[in-house]
C-alpha cells in the first residue's frame, strides 16, 4: 500500500459527491491509502485569490502545514485545489518575507510550514504511481469498444506544473485505455468549461460547454470522463440548460474517471455514486454489463 496525505476539497462532499465516493471505493483495490487531513479547511481557490491575493496564500497554507506534519505527499482530486495549493507552496519558497508572515499567523493555531510538501493531483498519482499496467491487471470488466472523450479541463494541466503536456495531455487518455475503452481524439480536451462563472455569467459559460459537448460528439463519444469536479458539474448539470438555450438535444453522460475505473474494477454503481450523476450513465452501464456477460459466456 502506498500512503498519501489526502486533501479531498469541499466539492467532493457535495456537488461532486460522486468523485469523493468513487475515490474511496477504488483506492483500496488499486493499492493506495489516502489519509484524509484532519480538520482541513477550504483552499480558498481562485475566489479568495481574487479578493486578496496574499491572504489567499495563508488560507491555502493552513492545509500544507497539516500535511507537512504527516510527512507524506499531499494528494488532491480537485484541479482547482491542486493549483491553489501548489502555487501557494511555490510562492512561499520564493518570498521569504511572506513565508515568515504566514508562519507568524499560523502560529496562533499552533501550526508551522517549512515549505516541504509536494502537492500532487490524483490523476498523476493514478497514472504515474499506481500505473496503468496495475490498473489494467485489476480490470474485471474490460470496457471494450466504449468510446470515451477524455476531458482534462484547464486547471489540471495549466499553469504548467510539469506532470503532463499543457496543450495535448495524455495521462487521462492512458487511464481510459488501461480499462480497455477507446480514448477518442478530443481536440478541446484541455479547454475551459466556464468554471464558477457559470453562475454569474451563465450565457458565456453555456457557450463554452456547448462547444465541448459538440466536439466530443463529433468525434464519436458515448460518454465523457473527467477528473475535475467543476468540469463535471458544468458538463453534467448544465447540459439541460445548454439544450434549452441552443435548442439542442445533448444526452451525454459525464463520469468521473474514478467512476469509470470503478466500473471496470467491478465495483457497484451506488458505491461509485453513479446515482448522483444528472445525465443518466445508464447507457454506459448497460454496455459494460453486456460486455461483462459476454466475457463470462466466453469463459
Amino acid at each position: 500500500m502506498k500512503r498519501y496525505a489526502y486533501y479531498p476539497g469541499c466539492s467532493t462532499e457535495s456537488t461532486a459527491i460522486g468523485l469523493g465516493l468513487s475515490i474511496k471505493a477504488v483506492a483500496g483495490p488499486l493499492g493506495i491509502e489516502l489519509e484524509e487531513l484532519e480538520d482541513w479547511t477550504c483552499c480558498g481557490s481562485v475566489q479568495y485569490g481574487s479578493l486578496d491575493e496574499l491572504e489567499a496564500i495563508l488560507v491555502a497554507t493552513r492545509n500544507l502545514a497539516l500535511a507537512e506534519k504527516k510527512g507524506l505527499d499531499l494528494v488532491t482530486p480537485c484541479s482547482s485545489c491542486f493549483i491553489t495549493l501548489t502555487s501557494a507552496g511555490l510562492q512561499l519558497r520564493k518570498n521569504h518575507l511572506l513565508m515568515s508572515q504566514v508562519n507568524e499567523a499560523l502560529a496562533v493555531a499552533n501550526l508551522e510550514y517549512h515549505g516541504n510538501v509536494p502537492v500532487r493531483h490524483l490523476t498523476e498519482v493514478l497514472a504515474s504511481d499506481v500505473t496503468t499496467e496495475v490498473i489494467a491487471s485489476n480490470v474485471k470488466y474490460r470496457l471494450n469498444g466504449l468510446k470515451v472523450a477524455p476531458y482534462y479541463g484547464c486547471q489540471l494541466v495549466r499553469p504548467d506544473y510539469g506532470f503532463d503536456d499543457p496543450d495535448f495531455p495524455r495521462s487521462l487518455d492512458r487511464l481510459v485505455e488501461s480499462l480497455g475503452a477507446e480514448a477518442i481524439p478530443f481536440p478541446l480536451k484541455s479547454r475551459c468549461c466556464g468554471g464558477t462563472l457559470v453562475i454569474p455569467e451563465e450565457d458565456m459559460a453555456l457557450g463554452l460547454i456547448r462547444k465541448l459537448l459538440d466536439n466530443a460528439l463529433e468525434n464519436g463519444a458515448q460518454c465523457i470522463t473527467t477528473p475535475c469536479p467543476l468540469c463535471q458539474i458544468n458538463l453534467d448539470a448544465y447540459q439541460s440548460r445548454v439544450n434549452n438555450k441552443f435548442k439542442t438535444h445533448y444526452n451525454l453522460p459525464v463520469l468521473f474517471i474514478t467512476q469509470l475505473i470503478g466500473l471496470a474494477l467491478g465495483i457497484d454503481a451506488v458505491s461509485l455514486g453513479l446515482n448522483t450523476n444528472i445525465v443518466s450513465p445508464g447507457r454506459v452501464l448497460d454496455d459494460i454489463l453486456g460486455a461483462g456477460q459476454e466475457a463470462s459466456h466466453g469463459a
Binding site: C10, T41, Y48, E55, I57, A105, C154, C192, P200, I278
Partner: protein, 180 residues
Amino acid sequence: MSFVEEVAATHGGENICACIQCGICTGSCPTAGEMEYPPRKIIALIRAGMRGEVLSSSSMWHCLSCYMCTLRCPRDVRPAELAHALKSLASRYNYRIKGTRAPAIYHSFVSSMINNGRVHELGMILRYYLTTNPLVALKIFPVGLKLLLRRRMPLRPHKTSGRRSLARMVKKFREIRGSH
C-alpha cells in the same frame, strides 16, 4: 507610486513591465470577446496610468483562470495571475464593478468558507442571489433542484472545527500586514 509600479508590487503583477504587447494572450483567451479590455489592452492601460478605468472595469472579472495566456506569453508576464492581482486591488479599494455579478459570487464564496471552514454551496448560492437578483434564481431553480435530489446540494453546512483556527490566523495575518 505610479499605477504601473503599484501593480508591479503586487503578487501576480511582478512582470508587467516585460510585456511587448504582442497580443498572444488576447488571441488565446476564450473570453476576450466578453472583455472590454482583453489582457493585452489592460496591460497597455495600466502602463498608461489609467487606474480608475482599469480597477472599475469588469474585464478581469470575466477571466476564467484557465491560464492559457500565462502558458502562451513569451515574456512570462502571467496575465492570469495579473487578473487576480487586479481584482484584489479593485476589492481592496472598494471599486464598484458594473456589468458583471462575478464579484458578488466571489464574496459569497469567501464568506461561506470563513464561516464554515469549508464552502457550503447552497448557502453560497442563496447569499449570492439575495445580494444580486433573487428573480434570476428562478431561472436556474431546476438545476439546483436536480442537484438537491441527487444529494449533491447538502442543506446544512459542514462546519469544521478548523474554521476557528482559520479565523484566528486570518485575523493575525491582517494585524501583521497592517503594521508593515
